[in-house]
């Protein structure tokens, strides 16, 4: 009850023309940041941080967090339209979002992705409002073995689903190889750099993605005769309403996505992992799972719900414990000190107005954000009408700028082009790209948490079954991994029983 009172007080703080104006400005800037690949949430917020120095802390955090929400919403736009993820957490959105756009259903895909985002955000904000201390304490139970179990679960849910297990594994292994390049965090040694200083920083995941998807896609389109499949995209404002009518029957996917998002938000880089995990899981539980990758609405909903949910939940550890749950939250945390607030667990007690103002703004700004991005659907979908010969060079330039921006290095552009060619070859030979991306994104954190767990247990593998939480997740992962094998065994057993 007290929480509700606090929340209403928060709303009274937020509802001023000035704060609402900051909210809209933040959201629009965030959409721009999100649309440009390479310029992600953390960079966007860091660049715009100085704008807020003269504002009151509450207005400042409202504007900055809105940039973050805006970028979370908009990361999906280029994923759907051009197969180029604007943000790392919208990679999984391309799997079904882009095929939908090619079938002329771009408006539907965008509406679903924005609505899913909104649902995930709402779920996380509700959780922050009512369960913050409880969730924060539960999340602290997650140590290295638990995190390894989570990643293991994700990999397991992906491996069993491919059409050709050999191709899936090959793609996965290549990804692990790429993920290893650079300095190893645990041993401090260099791996696969071949004495080349440019490779010290490793190959950034976003650069690979921009290459594989963006450049690779353009190469394919060129070969197919310089046309974009989505040219006949039907653009109709009614599409929003029609899509909404379909959504309730995907409640399970939405719910799972939201829970995964809220739960993974605690860990830096959680949004990207959450989106993959949610996609993998939806593929397993959905009746239409076998059609994923060909333009299923659920395949767009699942990752976006989890990604935005996780982005919002990342603010929970920041507020409850003073620990940033994501890179963007880390920049916001730095902002708190500049505005004269001491971040940390005492924030909830000492700065009630600020904290509840922020929570109230999360409700409001996600609603306003949804309206802004939804009203932009026809606008963005119209981009698909531009002839390929004009849009393709623009995409290549945007891709190159994006790759460069990731860590202002020319080398990234060459890497991007190389992966463009790899993406093209993969497509031609019908190798799946998803496992490759998954391994590049999660390979490093999986390895690190495995080794941290093993360091802690002095080499005993029993650490992965040392409590109910990690044990349950590992068992579920193993079950998923061997499911095809177990299923056929079960089938044989039944047949032999029936015959004998």
């Amino acid at each position: 009850m007290e929480d509700l009172l606090n929340l209403f007080h928060g709303f009274s703080v937020i509802l001023s023309w000035y704060n609402l104006g900051m909210m809209v400005i933040g959201l629009v800037l965030g959409v721009l940041v999100g649309v440009l690949p390479g310029l992600g949430g953390p960079n966007g917020v860091a660049i715009l941080l100085p704008l807020t120095f003269s504002m009151s802390p509450t207005s400042a955090i409202v504007m900055l967090s809105c940039i973050y929400w805006g970028s979370l919403f908009a990361g999906a736009i280029t994923s759907v339209l051009f197969n180029i993820p604007g943000e790392s957490h919208s990679v999984a959105t391309t799997f079904d979002g882009y095929p939908m756009a090619q079938q002329g259903r771009a408006g539907e895909a965008l509406t679903a992705s924005f609505t899913g985002s909104f649902f995930g955000a709402l779920f996380s904000v509700l959780m922050i409002t009512f369960l913050a201390p409880l969730v924060a304490n539960f999340a602290l139970h997650f140590g290295p073995p638990e995190f390894f179990a989570v990643y293991f679960l994700t990999f397991a849910s992906f491996i069993g689903t491919g059409k050709d297990p050999f191709k899936t594994i090959a793609s996965l292994m290549l990804g692990f190889g790429v993920a290893q390049i650079g300095m190893d965090n645990v041993s401090g040694t260099l791996r696969l750099t071949f004495g080349w200083s440019e490779l010290l920083r490793g190959v950034d995941f976003l650069v690979v993605v921009i290459g594989l998807f963006g450049v690779g896609e353009i190469l394919i389109s060129m070969e197919e005769g310089l046309k974009f499949e989505g040219v006949h995209a039907k653009i109709n404002p009614k599409v929003v309403w029609q899509t909404w009518k379909k959504l309730p029957k995907y409640w399970l996917t939405l719910l799972f996505g939201a829970v995964i998002g809220a739960w993974m938000g605690f860990k830096p880089g959680g949004a990207t992992a959450a989106s993959f995990m949610s996609y993998g899981l939806a593929k397993r539980i959905s009746k239409n799972g076998y059609r994923f990758g060909t333009g299923e609405l659920e395949g767009v909903l699942a990752p976006e719900t989890a990604a935005h949910g996780s982005g919002c939940a990342a603010l929970l550890p920041m507020m409850a414990l003073g620990i940033p749950g994501s890179a963007t939250a880390a920049v916001l945390l730095g902002g708190l000190m500049i505005w004269g607030l001491q971040p940390g667990p005492l924030l909830f007690v000492e700065q009630k107005e600020f904290v509840w103002g922020l929570i109230a703004s999360m409700y409001l700004s996600n609603v306003v954000g949804l309206v802004i991005v939804l009203s932009s659907v026809p606008l963005f979908a119209a981009i698909l009408r531009i002839p390929f010969s004009i849009i393709a060079p623009v995409i290549v330039v945007v891709c190159a700028i994006g790759a460069f921006t990731v860590n202002t290095a020319m080398f990234n552009i060459w890497t991007m082009l190389l992966f463009g060619v790899i993406g093209y070859v993969f497509k031609k030979l019908d190798y799946p790209l998803a496992p490759l991306i998954l391994a590049i994104v999660l390979g490093d954190p999986t390895e690190v948490s495995f080794r941290q767990a093993i360091l802690g247990s002095q080499g005993a593998m029993s650490i992965f079954f040392s409590n109910w939480l990690v044990g349950a997740m590992m068992s579920a992962g193993l079950l998923l991994l061997f499911w095809p094998f177990l299923a056929s065994l079960w089938g044989k057993l039944r047949r032999s029983v029936a015959e004998g």
Partner: protein
């Protein structure tokens, strides 16, 4: 004969005058070096990290105090334990409009990376501005009330006490190794990616203790969730003066986690002098104390260009020995 002598003399005078003019010209210029365009301020770590905060604080203090006519453009070039950003500055020899944040990790980094990574010798040291303090922090309800308790536990069963820190081969692990040697114990060091991840692991009870700088644990300390039990400095530190030093507890070691400023190699002495002076004025200002040192709980430690180079050289020797001991440098 006479005429030619006269001509020679005239020539000599002319040469002398030209030379004098040249020297004057140079000295006049020297006294008047001023940046003529914005200065790129390279931060070889990601936005939001300690070095990023440091660079932005310097930028703010200089800007608000109007200590310079030009402005800084902060560029984050993270990766490869800061070797990427550091090397890019080392390759900009003679660039008068570039500065770099330079911390102890950039001294140890090249030692483990080896060939090709720029060291302090490939840069011009401008000034050292501050020292970040290294604490061992435990959870409030930890059985380790003092650092002696932790040492006793580690002595009883070697290799079971877990201490987390940021990364491998950097400040936290080096400090940890010095502590092990001074106390003659063996603990289990577990590397995490950031200070935030370390404190999360500590609060969740996944490790017994962590190495952390004040800015990494003060929020949780204020909320009485964690408490520091020892600091690796030669004397107690500012607001945390109830925390004993390792020295006091009988473990003879200290560690310098310093924060300095460097510039590209081969810049003119007057350029280096200009920046050294700028940093001196900045570090003397009240705004620097209020908005950086006190806020993030660092100790002030100003050293000029020459002293910084000597200080860094001394530390490189120390770091090299520890890293060899850890098996990270051959």
């Amino acid at each position: 004969m006479k005429a030619s002598q006269f001509r020679m003399k005239a020539l000599r005078v002319a040469m002398l005058v030209t030379l004098a003019l040249l020297i004057c010209g140079v000295t006049v210029q020297a006294a008047e070096f001023k940046p003529s365009k914005p200065i790129s301020f390279i931060v070889p770590y990601a936005p939001g990290g300690g070095s990023d905060v440091y660079a932005r604080a310097i930028d703010n203090v200089i800007k608000s105090g109007k200590l310079m006519d030009q402005r800084f453009v902060i560029e984050n070039k993270p990766g490869g334990s800061a070797t990427i950003g550091t090397t890019s500055v080392a390759q900009s020899a003679g660039n008068d409009h570039m500065l770099l944040t330079f911390i102890s990790g950039q001294v140890s980094g090249p030692l483990t990376v080896g060939k090709g990574a720029a060291t302090y010798r490939d840069l011009t040291m401008i000034a050292n501005l501050a020292k970040d303090e290294q604490f061992i922090v435990v959870k409030t309800d930890s059985p380790f009330k003092t650092i002696q308790d932790l040492v006793a536990a580690a002595k009883k069963s070697p290799g079971t006490v877990t201490i987390a820190g940021t990364a491998t081969g950097q400040e936290d692990q080096m400090c940890n190794r010095l502590f092990e040697k001074a106390a003659d114990i063996k603990v289990r060091y577990i590397p995490f990616k950031s200070g935030g991840e370390c404190i999360t692991a500590l609060l969740g009870g996944h490790v017994a203790a962590i190495w952390a700088n004040p800015s990494e644990f003060i929020p949780q300390y204020d909320a009485k969730m964690v408490r520091p039990i020892a600091v690796a400095n030669n004397k107690r530190v500012g607001l945390l003066n109830t925390v004993p030093t390792f020295m006091e507890a009988g473990y003879k070691f200290e560690f310098d986690f310093f924060r300095a400023i460097a510039a590209p190699p081969k810049i003119k002495p007057e350029v280096a002098a200009y920046y050294e002076n700028l940093m001196k004025r900045m570090s003397d200002s009240q705004a620097w104390k209020d908005n950086y040192l006190n806020k993030y709980m660092l100790s002030p430690m100003f050293l000029g260009s020459k002293d910084t180079a000597a200080f860094v050289a001394k530390n490189e020797k120390i770091f090299g020995d520890i890293l060899k001991d850890l098996g990270l440098v051959k």
